[in-house]
């Protein structure tokens, strides 16, 4: 029966979910060759340039401001002040200035363009396995979500590992989820808008060297511009000096304001490095002695020198996200392949997100046709996981949200559904669909109703969540807490619900 059903699915031109295919899913509307690089379907909110070599946050406006400020100030310095200073004092000054400038630029670009240490999201199998373990550990699948923390003892200190609902992993110690970039980052320090990227394990040393060298450069320029003006005013008076070299005024102003902030920041980070803490930990006071007499930093190596060496000269781990690798169709998935899930699980390639009214209607028909078959029994061992939306809309990290894997919403798995909510599977447009996928949705466990809503918007590959995506809630229900497929208890499900869900899951591949 299933095969018959899947045959009818094929007739509906779901060419991208052909179960015979082992190549990445192709959209029927784009005639691209299937070889896509992984960065093109990266679930986080990052921008990639140079075919995946460069990785930045989404908002880069302030980074360009930083760049402009540095370039303009240094440009003015070299053009107007250096000739005078080179003649009057020594030509070493522009040389040192040049070296500092290049170093600052190099470290800035390195900080901005590199992967801060993003943790790739869990594969569906991993997420399912974790869910199972958590359920087993907690025993019940009641309405209240089990607390998602694990405790671990590191060097005598108890550290809580939190579960990230977006990435579906237990975050390693010191990792944190950046809500702006929508990624979990290892040894997360902070998200720096000036640099246009998160600062984490892999680029912290570049960030530190950037602010340190920028402090030196700022002080250097400030000092020598002042010297320049003073020397000139000895010759021709203060006002004439200013008239002869108007750029100096601008430079002094910029440097004056920069010095306070940059030097202060460098000092702060020097302290952090020597005590092996992150900005995050310092702000929260995680290892402060104020919290308790026995509270100490378990990651510190004991002495300042070792801490500094470890932070600045330690081994640099490679990027875990393999941006430039090609997307392969995976080895066979465990989930019984309702077509959408299989392909979704098989690749993270771009899904076609176009929802045709026809396809929606046909899927709906299919769902209703399949009403008698409790196929989802098999799925319970490998539930369709509700993954988080790729964009949390800047909202709270670590919250669940439903993905916008496809155009039509579905009833989330794992929620006992009142029968009345199932039927309305008609597709109708939601004007606010796009913003919705930026939200996290709550699921009140007492009544999970959703009005399935379809929309005709496309989602870019970057917005595609990690598979398998469940479909979004029709109505935004505010911020979510946790809503996990872990609640999925097939035994308690209405079989119609199961099938409608299954059918709607297929739609997620559309």
């Amino acid at each position: 029966m299933h095969l018959g059903v899947s045959e009818s699915m094929r007739e509906c031109e779901y060419s991208q979910i052909s179960t015979r295919s082992s190549t990445p899913m192709e959209t029927p509307y784009k005639k691209r060759t299937p070889k896509m690089r992984k960065w093109e379907s990266f679930p986080g909110r990052n921008k990639f340039y140079c075919n995946g070599r460069i990785m930045m946050a989404k908002q880069t406006g302030v980074f360009y401001l930083t760049l402009v400020l540095i370039l303009v100030t240094c440009g003015l310095f070299f053009t107007f002040d250096c000739p005078f200073l080179a003649l009057e004092l020594t030509p070493v000054i522009p040389v040192i200035g040049g070296v500092l400038f290049l170093f600052v630029l190099g470290t800035l670009l390195r900080t901005s363009f590199s992967d801060p240490g993003v943790l790739p999201r869990a594969t569906p199998d991993e997420a399912a396995d974790l869910e199972r373990q958590i359920d087993v550990a907690n025993g019940s699948t009641g309405y209240r979500p089990p607390p998602r923390t694990k405790e671990v003892v590191i060097n005598g200190q108890t550290v809580k590992l939190k579960y990230c609902f977006t990435c579906k992993i237990f975050r390693p110690p010191r990792a944190s989820h950046c809500s702006l970039c929508d990624n979990c980052v290892e040894r997360f320090d902070h998200h720096c808008p000036w640099v246009g990227n998160c600062v984490g394990r892999r680029n912290y040393r570049f960030f530190y060297m950037f602010i340190l060298s920028l402090s030196f450069l700022t002080i250097f320029i400030f000092a020598f511009v002042i010297t320049h003006v003073i020397l000139r005013s000895h010759r021709s008076g203060f006002l004439n000096a200013l008239k002869d070299s108007p750029a100096s005024v601008l430079e002094v102003v910029v440097c004056f304001f920069s010095v306070w902030s940059i030097v202060g920041l460098s000092g702060f980070h020097t302290y952090l490095i020597s005590s092996n803490q992150t900005t995050n930990e310092d702000i929260k006071g995680s290892w402060s002695s104020k919290r308790g007499k026995d509270n100490y930093n378990p990651y510190s190596h004991g002495n300042i020198f070792t801490n500094c060496c470890a932070a600045l000269c330690g081994p640099l781990p490679p990027s875990l996200i393999d941006r430039r690798g090609f997307i392969q169709s995976d080895t066979p998935q465990l989930a019984p392949p309702t077509n959408g899930i299989t392909m979704y699980g098989a690749t993270q390639s771009q899904q076609s997100h176009m929802c045709d009214q026809d396809q929606c209607i046909q899927s709906t028909k299919f769902v209703l046709q399949a009403a008698a078959t409790p196929l989802l029994q098999q799925q319970s061992s490998q539930p369709v996981i509700l993954t988080a939306s790729p964009e949390n809309g800047g909202s709270l990290p670590g919250r669940t949200s439903l993905t916008l894997g496809g155009p039509c919403t579905s009833l989330p798995l794992g929620q006992p559904t009142p029968p009345t909510s199932t039927p309305s599977l008609s597709c109708h447009e939601a004007t606010d669909m796009l913003p919705i996928h930026g939200h996290s949705h709550t699921h009140n466990h007492s009544h999970p109703h959703q009005e399935p809503v379809a929309h005709h918007h496309f989602l870019t590959p970057e917005e595609v969540p990690s598979p398998p995506g469940m479909l979004p809630c029709g109505s935004p229900l505010g911020h979510s807490h946790t809503m996990q497929a872990g609640f999925y208890n097939p035994a308690s499900q209405d079989s119609l619900h199961e099938d409608s869900v299954r059918g709607l899951v297929k739609l997620s591949s559309v």
């Binding site: 869990a122 992993i169 010191r174 040894r187 060297m209 000269c313 081994p315 996200i321 078959t373």
Partner: protein, 155 residues
């Protein structure tokens, strides 16, 4: 029961259509999680998963994981060599990595070879497959358990 049987058949059929008929079907996957008791270093738990009891010796499993842990420790070790490399890299503005690999990358290659070797010698003959943790973002060691071939052929 019937549903499970149907589901299972469906799995057989569908996974079959996904791959060549020669390949065995995947039965389940076991995930060996990270062990954070020593801090943030890459280390995996050596606890023997119950699903592998029928297929593998506890000792072999522990040995594999322990070797992996040692290799990762070597990659992340803070010592004279890594400091030297770090300083040299800084002095050359990291351009040196255009020509040579970092120590970490060298060890990762070593790990990949080790895993391949282990798969060939120990795991594949038992119908298991180790996945290199780097492909899973160093989160887990994924062990795929394949079904016995006798079941997985034909619709």
């Amino acid at each position: 029961m019937r549903a499970a049987a149907i589901g299972k058949t469906f799995t057989m059929a569908e996974t079959h259509s996904l791959q060549d008929l020669q390949q065995p079907a995947v039965s389940s996957k076991v995930f060996v999680q990270r062990d954070y008791s020593s801090g943030t270093i890459s280390k995996f738990q050596t606890k023997f998963p119950s699903e592998l009891e029928s297929r593998l010796d506890k000792q072999q499993f522990e040995e594999t994981i322990q070797t992996l842990n040692n290799l990762y420790a070597e990659a992340e070790k803070l010592g004279a060599e890594s400091y030297l490399e770090g300083c040299l890299a800084c002095l050359t503005a990291y351009t040196i990595f255009l020509c040579m690999e970092t120590h970490y990358e060298k060890v990762l290659k070593k790990i990949a070879r080790y895993i391949k070797d282990q798969n060939e010698k120990i795991y594949a003959p038992r119908g298991l497959l180790l996945t290199d943790p780097i492909e899973r973002g160093l989160r887990v060691v994924e062990i795929t358990i394949f079904e016995d071939r006798s079941i997985g052929s034909g619709r």
